[in-house]
């Protein structure tokens, strides 16, 4: 992760100096959540942040995003890509698996592990990889989606009940999966809550979320001097005091 971030940071510093524009440091996860919040006009949602590297159930407390539940091992996007590689599907695997899953019919039993608001998915991946080649890939794709998405939505629903919140938003690349969003909508409808959806192209990593969040930070007077700027690989979402006031 470090080298990728350093490459991006070098480009940002160069652009800042070249164009004489202020440099602002943005937390990637916060940018995802801020974009989802602004696009959906959410008041006080529980947010499911699910991407290649993250799987977290988050909500805002006292001006910070707090992680209430998360994966204890691997992220869902990572699981999908790892399985896709084993099954001989290219990277990224998620979109292809979603198409294959539409033709799957049979639910193959896979480990389902929810611990309160946390989930664990490494056992599910191990089981999947041992079944690759032995079961039809369409059924495996269908089963992994049904099992893993249900785990995430159960954890999200528990967070909504525990925090007494009635809005759910999803962000992160796995949110581009329409089955995940369909399940989220059903879960919310059944408990009288609202699922806050927005166009698919804004779920995955995008430049708009970084630009929008940096504008919020800029409005609050945040500036980063080029010589002070650095990458923070382990900068957790709850370490950020949220920018507001756009």
């Amino acid at each position: 992760m470090g080298p990728c971030l350093r490459t991006g940071a070098t480009v940002a510093r160069a652009l800042s100096l070249m164009l004489n524009k202020p440099l602002v440091g943005v937390n990637h996860a916060v940018a995802h959540l801020e974009l989802a919040r602004v696009m959906t006009k959410a008041r006080d949602p529980v947010m499911l942040y699910v991407s290649g590297g993250n799987t977290q159930v988050i909500s805002e407390v006292d001006g910070r995003y707090v992680v209430f539940g998360e994966t204890e091992d691997i992220a869902l996007g990572n699981l999908l890509d790892s399985f896709a590689r084993t099954a001989g599907i290219g990277f990224p695997g998620g979109p292809v698996l979603m198409q294959l899953a539409k033709r799957g019919k049979r639910l193959i039993e896979l480990p389902y592990s929810v611990k309160g608001m946390n989930v664990s998915m490494s056992g599910t991946l191990t089981a999947l990889e041992s079944l690759a080649g032995k079961e039809p890939v369409e059924d495996l794709a269908y089963s992994v989606q049904e099992v893993c998405f249900a785990m995430l939505l159960e954890a999200s629903e528990r967070a909504m009940a525990y925090l007494e919140k009635d809005e759910l938003a999803i962000s992160g690349g796995v949110g581009a999966n329409t089955r995940l969003r369909e399940m989220a909508r059903i879960m919310c409808e059944e408990r009288g809550a609202r699922f806050l959806d927005y166009p698919t192209k804004f779920y995955a990593d995008n430049a708009v979320m970084i630009a929008m969040t940096s504008l919020e930070l800029l409005a609050r007077g945040e500036r980063l001097r080029v010589e002070d700027s650095t990458v923070m690989v382990r900068w957790r979402v709850d370490e950020v005091r949220l920018p507001r006031g756009l």
Binding site: L107, G116, E146, A150, L153, E182, M183, W235, E239, V240
Partner: protein, 193 residues
């Protein structure tokens, strides 16, 4: 003799594949009834099971009057932390993990601690699961009472270790090991950006 009872019904979840949903509701209903019963051997208070039907996902159990730990902590009442620790210590000493140990699943009834909602419990004695119970408790305390969580935790921990069981000591050790990860650290130790 009149008794108040509660019927807990696990309703099907429309978002979940029907086959998966049915299997989960059955196994959780059966597991919850078993843990509600077994925890009492070690002196843990929990509702009494009158009837259980895993097929329809229902448990009929005794009604318990009381205040949730969540409400007590919100109102600034921290004095039950040690008793809660004793209760969880007794549960863990028997190798039972709760699986969703938030303060809203802990009741104080006439001064006594009563544990609820054993649907995600496991009876394997796995230290990892016991430590996860403690981890959930730490997280919930931090979000409920903020910086004061350490005071509550210290009382909880002294009660928790009172059972003298080696699995409790190991679970606590495991919790401390993983504290290096962001959210186990105290807020004041975190960098603010």
């Amino acid at each position: 003799m009149e008794r108040r009872a509660v019927l807990k019904l696990r309703v099907p979840k429309g978002y979940r594949n029907a086959q998966l949903d049915e299997a989960l509701r059955k196994s959780r209903t059966a597991g919850e009834a078993l843990s509600l019963h077994e925890c009492k051997r070690g002196g843990v208070r929990a509702p009494y099971v009158y009837h259980v039907n895993p097929e329809e996902g229902s448990i009929l159990m005794s009604h318990v009057e009381g205040h949730t730990m969540t409400d007590l902590l919100r109102s600034g009442d921290f004095k039950h932390a040690r008793s809660v620790g004793i209760s969880i210590g007794r549960l863990h000493a028997q190798g039972i993990s709760h699986g969703d140990l938030t303060p809203s699943n802990i009741l104080v009834s006439e001064g006594e601690v009563v544990l609820l909602d054993f649907g995600l419990s496991e009876r394997t004695g796995d230290v990892e699961n016991l430590a996860e119970d403690l981890n959930v408790m730490v997280g919930a305390l931090q979000s409920l009472v903020g910086e004061k969580w350490t005071t509550v935790w210290d009382d909880f921990e002294s009660g928790y270790l009172e059972s003298g069981s080696s699995s409790c000591a190991m679970a606590l050790e495991r919790l401390k090991q993983v504290r290096g990860r962001g959210r186990y650290r105290r807020k004041s130790e975190r960098r603010s950006r």
